[in-house]
Symmetry: none
Subunit: 226 residues, 2 copies
């Protein structure tokens, strides 16, 4: 995803971003540290080579650093970044977790998001972009690398039209109304057709999907089968 960089002054006056980094590759870790340390709005509080090292450093409340955001790899020696999120969130419930990784397949992406990551960046991303992403996340937004964002969009996108798709466009509109919890009358009013037309569409939808109730239609729809 591409946007113009925010003017520097927009971050002046803000508190510093307390950052942690968990990265096993020494070159990447040092590049990140060197680059991010240069910016006056970023304070690197903790750097670790593994999840175990990181968790050990935050176990004791007395010595635990205040953190706003962390950059974390997925593939780490020992516990993975994804597995570590659960433990991290116990100590820092409000922490913004940004995954920084080479993995771009759906499983890793959604496992990260479902675990609690709020941003997912490909390691092929320039350092300046990573820094902008940190600022964006800190302001309450999120950053996904363009290829990641595309995968997320594709996750939701209807699957490729199969030969002989089960439902027509109009029928799908009716289904959407059902899924939205509308009554037949409401659907009729919304689509500007008669309630008997809605009933007729529903009869055909039930026949096509081999179901006999609204509930079954809703479930098929929400589970991506329509």
């Amino acid at each position: 995803m591409v946007v113009l960089p925010l003017p520097f002054f927009q971050l002046c006056g803000m508190e510093k971003i307390n950052l942690a980094i968990v990265e096993d590759d020494p070159l990447i870790r040092e590049s990140l540290e060197n680059f991010l340390t240069e910016h006056p709005s970023v304070k690197i509080r903790l750097i670790a080579k593994s999840m175990e090292e990181f968790l050990a450093a935050i176990t004791d409340a007395a010595s635990r650093p205040a953190l706003d955001l962390m950059l974390m790899d997925i593939e780490l020696p020992g516990m993975s970044g994804i597995q570590g999120i659960y433990h991290i969130k116990q100590k820092y419930p409000e922490l913004d977790i940004v995954m920084l990784t080479t993995f771009e397949e759906e499983e890793k992406i959604f496992n990260s998001l479902c675990a609690g990551a709020c941003s997912y960046i490909s390691k092929r991303t320039p350092l300046a972009t990573i820094r902008e992403a940190i600022f964006t996340v800190h302001r309450g937004g999120s950053y996904m690398s363009p290829s990641i964002a595309r995968k997320i969009a594709q996750h939701f996108m209807p699957k490729e039209r199969k030969e002989g798709e089960l439902l027509s466009a109009r029928q799908k509109e009716i289904v959407q109304g059902i899924v939205d919890g509308l009554s037949y009358k409401m659907i009729a009013d919304k689509l500007d057709i008669s309630i008997d037309t809605v009933r007729d569409h529903i009869k055909r939808i039930y026949r096509a999907l081999e179901v006999n109730s609204k509930a079954e239609v809703i479930r098929k729809s929400l589970e991506g089968e329509i």
Copy 2:
């Protein structure tokens, strides 16, 4: 989401992006047209004020313009942008659809993505950023505005456990039956209780969840709210 702008030369040599715009607000429509027309890599093929106008313009295969990408609002007079995606995809199955809208609530976002949009941009986004997003999408990536990306991340994020769970164990069994598409009678038979007991449970479930229909219960359940 924020990234450094791509160097201009990266797009040189590429074919022009054949673009369509569907936007009812005249000021926005003209701003977009004027700004995007300036770039040599963008060719605006079609502009419409409504979905109906757009669909009318693409009905005839002989006069239908070649399109690679379109920018579309959601709230349009008559058919909404989301509703129109079904029809558009029939004529342009491979078209990249970028939603450009003021709406930022989850329902619109996910309805758009589920309908087939591959990018969702807030109207508060600068024109230069919109143009960069067009290039990103055309290259196979996607762009989501930072606030949109955050909502998507939050959609997957585990929900905070509320104090005092809403439903009892038995109620959850009833809910499972509803989600499975069972009728009241079927649930009664399955749990070996009377249909009036099922009705009573459902009354209490509806009150606890603040809903009034099976459909809403199913939706809340499949979306992880129960």
